[in-house]
Amino acid sequence: MRLQIELTTQPIDLRRELPRELADAAGAVVEFQGVVRAEEDGHAVAALEYEAYSPMAERVMRRIAEEVCRRHPCLFVRVTHRIGVVPVGEAAIHVVAAARHRTEAFAMVTEFMNRLKRDVPIWKTRAFGRHELAASKPQ
């Protein structure tokens, strides 16, 4: 299984292609985007800020993906989590799992996300309103 784990402060490139050598082997590609909503805890927001304990977050995400893949074998998994300010409508996380069949790929994404939300040291630290977000941007 090929595994790519990335933290980035930049918008996630959702159109990155799979490694070319997987094209013939993968019968299923399951993709998940966790997207910032315009409402958080009952309040209108324009963006959320994410903070990570980066070395541990990467290590824990890698371990979770490896453990889940032992039960649900996948050919390729890519996890990209954005940190910093993420505007509404943009992805905070993007998970791609490619497998021979759909069952493993769906299970991989679901179990990975469930465990990420319990154990990966990443936090939503601040919600920005529309005016706060505008004020935070460089002129």
């Binding site: 903070e51 304990y53 070395p55 977050a57 630290t125």
Partner: protein
Amino acid sequence: MRVLFFAHLKDVTGTAHAEIKLGASLDTDALWQKLIAAYPGLARHRASVRLARNCEYAGANASFDDADEVALIPPVSGG
């Protein structure tokens, strides 16, 4: 020992990181006592905060010494 604080714990302690001298190995309970003595506001968060030692969650029987990097991990909310 280098100690890291994240999310709202930075507001509780007023810092993102600190250097704390232990002098000897401490178990989890003794480390918490030391942390709370330095930052009393941490006391009410102890039940919900996990300790990580050198980027791994520390078990109940972990011991900590001055060479370790310890992170206080409040409930996570990534994704």
